[in-house]
């Protein structure tokens, strides 16, 4: 009966989370400009999106961002967690706080900082000029704009994944780590033969979260390039947002949202299947 206490929360989650989600699934089948009555159009908007000239570039960009985000997250955050684990106690604690603290900074501040670094005549540009290096207009050059977006947050450590890896490393079964030490296992050997296999569940969570984050987090793109120049940084999330809230194509935006949801579901199920715990 204590479950009844959850009723207000369930009600609010239902109204503010599940209802909009279900409404959006239905909305994809209707053409609606947000003001006039909606018109049923069946699968037309789903078809229109998949056949649009921007669909291919959007899929390519989001694939690159998902792979890039997962790769940078895994490498940087796992490496940082390993280093912190191997540091002496006090130093480890200090470094841990230093690495974790930026999580509390508002993401907008981070985006503004990277905007300052990447904009024409920004800090990176000026350093490159002084060193005689090429200095592309990072965010307004179609060849470098997506790389510029990926660079945001470098060295990509201060995130939840770091804490997940650190927690995992600190809770590895002591008998196994002790046995490895007694056997004289080197750091690299221990990392790849013991830590990585034992942290598979953590890797799975971080991969799924990073993938979802990469798909959902189109805010830096919205603020820094607006999907441009041209379609150089256009991704499905931004297209969904612009279609609905800029172009008044709410139904079309909801159709993109539904397709994104399906894609993320497939990605999550696939990752869970591939990285499922296995008994040797």
């Amino acid at each position: 009966m204590l479950g009844a206490l959850l009723l207000p929360s369930l009600l609010l989650i239902g109204v503010f989370t599940y209802y909009p989600a279900v409404r959006s699934l239905i909305g994809g089948f209707y053409a609606w400009n947000g003001f006039s009555p909606p018109t049923y159009v069946g699968l037309a908007q789903f078809r229109e999106y998949v056949q649009s000239p921007t669909f291919g570039p959007e899929v390519a960009h989001i694939a690159l961002l998902v792979v890039g985000t997962i790769a940078t997250t895994l490498v940087s955050q796992f490496t940082a967690a390993e280093v912190v684990t191997h540091l002496p106690s006090l130093a480890g604690r200090i470094v841990k706080y230093v690495l974790v603290l930026p999580i509390v900074f508002p993401p907008l501040v981070l985006i503004e900082v990277w905007d300052y670094l990447l904009e024409p005549s920004g800090l990176i540009d000026r350093i490159a000029v002084n060193l005689g290096l090429p200095h592309p207009a990072w965010l307004s050059n179609p060849d470098t704009a997506l790389i510029g977006i990926l660079l945001i947050g470098f060295p990509w450590i201060s995130n939840l994944g770091f804490l997940i890896f650190l927690g995992g490393l600190q809770n590895l079964p002591k008998d196994i780590t002790d046995a490895a030490r007694v056997d004289g296992t080197g750091v690299l050997q221990k990392t790849f033969r013991i830590d990585v296999p034992l942290l598979f569940p953590q890797f799975r969570v971080v991969i799924i979260l990073s993938g979802i984050y990469a798909v959902q987090n189109f805010i830096p793109i919205l603020l820094l390039t607006n999907g441009g120049p041209g379609t150089a940084t256009l991704v499905p999330g931004l297209d969904m947002y612009q279609s609905a809230f800029q172009n008044d194509q709410y139904g079309y935006g909801m159709a993109i949202g539904t397709l994104l949801f399906v894609a993320m579901l497939v990605f999550t199920l696939f990752t869970m299947r591939v990285l499922r715990p296995r008994t040797l």
Binding site: F35, P142, L223, N226, P229, L234, Q246
Partner: protein, 501 residues
């Protein structure tokens, strides 16, 4: 068991109890609103800050005076941080979907008269404009205070007036005098051919010649308006079915259907070939800049006039609102000059008609314009409240008041519209004003005339074309497909059968 059931009931009661006060508050608020003074919710001009900001000092003063004279009315000004009219309209349409749009919304004539804004969102205010403005002694018809050249901009194809226009802007090329001297350019170019020669001279002198700031819609839509109006001047009559000063969505859709606004029409295709010639002189980070964004913008698009004042490019394409800004930079007032957009002549293309396009881009599309929302878009907008809102507008739109708030808002960079309104005489502004009749303005894709989606896609195509990732043939093919789909979308949204035309 009985105890747990009791607990559950209590929990349920508690959760319902949480909701009840909220409902009660809502009901009492609604009751209170019915008997409380009328509150006019009005959107401020974009990027002018709150009503207490210096840009809005004139509006603030006039509002206070109005409220003092009308104790039952108060005006709540809402800051407007939108970057463009498309963004502003998207906001309004979202609010209107829930019947919660403000009473007075910032607008521009393009989307209002073209049919881009959903029908029924704004009210026809013409009946009020046909009556006297009560704040202008002796006035018999409020509309007579507007210059006859402006009224066509306010009028929709069906004859309604859904927007009131308060300020005009002009556009032109702002240049660095020292750069011109260094490149050996003795006078500002008058023709497009001279302009291209000067760009070449600047480049040869090691100076970054120009920025076509396509991070926002201004420069791209200005170019489209300038070149299309110029090169199609002898064909406008074939598709200008509305005979308006500015082509509407219907005109464009007909022009596209007839193959006049078509990449297969060499005259229209020439517009984009001329744009392509600018690529070699364009600033490499052009897509990070916009000619109309806020000066204080810290994320892209950044303000392109800073490229001129910082000495990074020799010429930027800007508007009359640049003049007060550039003059306020210490020591810069004498270092720049301004010239109107050059005329496209036969020295540039065999399709040139030598159309003088001064005033084509500018006109009554500054900051000081509003639409009045309908009851469907704004559930508080009863006929009685509409009358109050129009009375407040009548107060703002007397010649003296119009000059007062516009001149304070833009420090002379925008021109008050009403006849007899005081105008600040800014150096350089006179050279941008039209000297004769302005030809029919042809707006097609980039100014939200057909659909906002087409405008968004069009800007992306122009960016790709200008940064070289799209060749002319690639651009032409995609632009043609955009024209066709935008015309069909406009016709569908406005329930127009194009085969009748």
């Amino acid at each position: 068991m009985q105890r747990t059931t009791k607990r559950a009931r209590l929990a349920l009661l508690a959760s319902v109890g949480v909701c009840l006060p909220a409902i009660a508050i809502g009901t009492s608020a609604a009751t209170a609103a019915a008997s409380s003074p009328i509150v006019i919710r009005a959107v401020l001009p974009p990027n002018t800050g709150p009503i207490t900001a210096s840009d809005n000092a004139g509006l603030y003063q006039l509002t206070k005076e109005y409220e003092r004279a009308h104790p039952g009315v108060s005006v709540q000004w809402l800051p407007n941080n939108t970057a463009s009219i498309t963004q502003a309209n998207a906001t309004v349409e979202s609010q209107a979907a829930g019947g919660a749009a403000p009473d007075l919304v910032w607008e521009q004539y393009g989307p209002v008269t073209s049919g881009s804004i959903p029908a029924g969102l704004l009210q026809n205010i013409k009946p009020y404009l046909e009556k006297p403005n009560p704040y202008v002694p002796g006035n018999k018809r409020w509309l007579s205070l507007f210059p006859s050249s402006v009224i066509p901009y306010m009028t929709s194809p069906n004859g309604d007036i859904d927007i009131i226009l308060g300020s005009a802007v002009e556009t032109g090329m702002f240049y660095n005098k020292a750069d011109f001297a260094k490149a050996g350019i003795k006078s500002a170019p008058v023709t497009w051919a001279q302009f291209m020669t000067d760009l070449s001279k600047l480049k040869s002198a090691g100076i970054q010649p120009f920025v076509f700031a396509d991070g926002g819609l201004c420069n791209p839509s200005w170019f489209e308006r300038l070149a299309t109006s110029s090169l199609l001047a002898n064909e406008v009559a074939k598709f200008d079915v509305n005979h308006a000063q500015v082509t509407t969505g219907l005109d464009d859709a007909v022009g596209i259907k007839e193959g006049i606004i078509s990449m297969k029409n060499p005259r229209y295709a020439e517009v984009w070939k001329i744009l392509g010639q600018l690529r070699q002189y364009n600033y490499s980070g052009a897509a990070t800049y916009d000619a109309c964004t806020s000066q204080t913008s810290t994320t892209p698009p950044l303000d392109s006039q800073a490229l001129l004042s910082d000495g990074k490019v020799a010429i930027v394409w800007g508007g009359s609102w640049y003049i007060p800004n550039l003059n306020s930079i210490k020591g810069f007032a004498d270092k720049y000059g301004v010239f109107p957009e050059p005329t496209i002549t036969s020295a540039t293309t065999k399709y040139a008609l030598n159309t003088v396009t001064r005033g084509v881009i500018g006109g009554p599309n500054g900051n000081g314009q509003w639409g009045v929302t309908s009851e469907k878009a704004d559930h508080t907008m009863t006929p009685a409240k509409t009358a109050v809102v129009m009375n407040f507008l009548a107060w703002l739109f007397t010649p003296a008041h119009n000059g007062y708030w516009i001149n304070q808002s833009q420090k002379g960079g925008e021109i008050p519209i009403l006849k007899g309104a005081p105008v600040l005489n800014l150096p350089g502004l006179k050279s941008l004003l039209p000297t004769g009749k302005v030809p029919t303005v042809v707006d097609v894709v980039l100014d939200d005339v057909l659909t906002t989606a087409a405008t968004t896609s069009g800007l992306r195509l122009v960016q790709e074309y200008m940064d070289g990732s799209l060749s002319y043939s690639g651009f032409a093919s995609q632009w043609q497909s955009l024209l066709t789909s935008a015309a069909a979308a406009w016709a569908s949204a406005n329930h127009v059968n194009l085969s009748k035309y």
